[in-house]
Amino acid sequence: MGAGAWWEGTRMVAGRNLAEGARSRAVRITTLILLVVGLAVVIVPKLLGDDEPTYTLATVGEASAPVRAQLDAASETAEFAVAYLPKGGAQEVELAVREGDATVGLAGSTMFVRTDAPGSFPVLVAQAVVAEQSAAMLLDAGLTPEQLAEVTSLPPPEQVEVGPVQDEGRAGVGFIVGIVLYLAIVISGNVIANNVGIEKSTRIAEVLLAVLRPSQILVGNVLGIGLQTLVQLLVLSVPIIAALTVTDGLDLPSAAAADIALALAWFVLGFFIYAFLFAAAAALVDKVSEVSSVITPVTTFLVVAYLAAIIVVPQDPGSALSVFLSMFPLTSPMAMPVRWSSGTVPEWQLVASMVLAIGAAVLIAWFGSSVYRRALVITGRRLKLREVLPEKG
């Protein structure tokens, strides 16, 4: 059979799977939910984010100009608003703070602070007052306004961060990506196993085998379900990636956009590695009700791999075990995205891990096809794996 004819039949099998998915209410609802979640991640923080906090400063009479200037400048960079509440005397200022009308109150050398006031605002007010007073004292001591400006513009020491460049926001993204990848592989693997089980137990497989090669049926099934799952993942992630790259509105580091895009690539690899295992296992059944039990070994391995990825890797992304998990092909699709998001992985390790995963996917596809081809035509009982293993030599 030529490659063209092979692909033609495979495409039809994949197309049938996609059409069946599009017809399925469960698939449509899941996709809709994923779209809503994807959009919500983008939109909800924006809605909440517009509501920047306003801190109120109560003063005896109008607040002084230097204090206002300092606080207004700070509010621009720190994303909050400052309101001023002039009062007639110290007692009124204290009352305003006590009743919650003001966050901080100033009366002469006394500062009233609510017990639940956010930590930074009282400090800013205190700094502004001290700066105003010290400026006045320096001017009194004979400094010219130019000299004063020089003193106040002294730069603070430059900060250099040391230690692992871990970013908690980004690591959080890695954690979520790990969960989503795991679920995507488990769910799509189960759909594939179920389809293979239905085709074999209803003997549709026999009708198909009369006109298609086993590899066409297998690859067609895997591609159809894989595309469907990939579309669902895109529906979930494209709004998030777009929001991270185009705007700066999310409380997430923009490096997370690249992490999520990379995760999609990892889905493709992880999916192929496990999909062929799921399909080969499901070909052993006689009745469709046996599917869940024959895929248990595959599912169990997947669960263990996932747990290892989310428990071991975040604790110490640089440990030997973490490195191993992120390189070994059966665990790397879940472990490497989590580890990569720690920001501490050399690029060569990412590339090596992907190459290993691609190689493993090809091997497993060959192994899976071989088991699938043998198992599909033996009906009437549930098969043991060793009955259909590829022959040696």
Partner: protein, 301 residues
């Protein structure tokens, strides 16, 4: 012409087909007959390359069958296969397209076939919502939707009621008259003896009988004498040792006469014993021929 040439197969040490060879001629409805376990399904799977034989091959139009040939064949397996949740019409279009028919032709052909099989209003119905009889007709439609040159059906009559058997026979005979090559298998030998023009009988993987049904039945030399006799006395049979009783139900007596026995002499003996109100001379049934042939073969080996 479809030719099965020396096909042998075994599962482990157990031989299931032993040098099976026969031809299926276009326009002649051919039956592949034999009891359960005779190797019929295995042979059909080999013809469709679902499993590889140990030796032998299937030939079509003078060459070994290619995958391209098989795309123009239709196969209905014994254990029926339909996607439970895929609407009937779409399912037929899908199977037609797998056989290389374009979507437009596939859709038209699927519509016509559903109409022909009395499923015209079931296009959008899921198979798992159809009755058992409708599912069987839909399965037949799936095997015929690409208008195959060769039609192979494994046990198509299994589980059908007499009306459905009649309808299926009609559908198949139409294809045969249109010059298609049709092979069907059955373990119910007498059910298909009036339908199939030609038969191949398998027992334990070997052909025990093959040829045109009419010739086989006539040339066996055996006859059956059916008598309705108003007497319970069977003493007169003792004088006829070569005659065996096939069936003895109240007034109805069915006797097997070996070659050379004069049916009229037997009839006279019966009349002497009691009043004969009805009688008939019949050719042996396919199952009787099978029993005889399988018995002989067992004795030889």
């Amino acid at each position: 012409m479809l030719q099965v040439r020396g096909v042998s197969h075994a599962f482990g040490d157990r031989a299931v087909l032993d040098d099976v060879r026969f031809d299926v001629v276009p326009g002649v409805l051919t039956g592949l007959l034999g009891p359960n376990g005779a190797g019929k399904t295995t042979l059909m799977r080999i013809m469709f390359d679902v499993i590889d034989p140990i030796s032998g091959a299937t030939w079509w139009q003078g060459h070994e069958v290619t995958p391209a040939d098989r795309r123009r064949w239709g196969y209905m397996p014994q254990e029926r296969g339909l996607y439970p949740a895929m609407p009937a019409g779409e399912q037929l279009v899908y199977f037609a397209r797998l056989h290389g028919v374009d979507r437009e032709h596939a859709t038209r052909s699927a519509k016509d076939l559903l109409e022909e099989l009395g499923l015209g209003d079931r296009w959008s119905d899921r198979p798992d919502k159809l009755s058992g009889g409708m599912q069987q007709r839909l399965q037949l439609a799936a095997a015929l939707v690409h208008d195959p040159e060769v039609i192979v059906l494994d046990e198509p009559f299994a589980g059908l009621d007499p009306v459905a058997v009649e309808e299926l026979s009609k559908t198949l005979l139409e294809r045969v008259r249109a010059g298609r090559t049709v092979l069907l298998s059955s373990h119910q030998l007498d059910l298909v003896q009036d339908l199939c023009e030609s038969i191949v009988m398998l027992d334990h993987g070997r052909i025990v009988l093959a040829g045109r049904v009419a010739d086989l039945r006539a040339s066996s030399g055996r006859r059956q004498l059916r008598l309705t006799i108003a007497s319970a006395d069977r003493q007169w049979l003792a004088a006829l040792p070569e005659v065996t009783v096939v069936e003895d139900l109240a007034d109805d007596l069915r006797l097997d006469l070996p070659p050379g026995t004069d049916p009229l002499a037997v009839l006279d003996a019966a009349r002497a014993a009691g009043q004969v109100t009805d009688f008939g001379l019949e050719l042996p049934t396919l199952s009787q021929l099978f029993m005889a042939a399988a018995g002989e073969l067992a004795e030889v080996s």
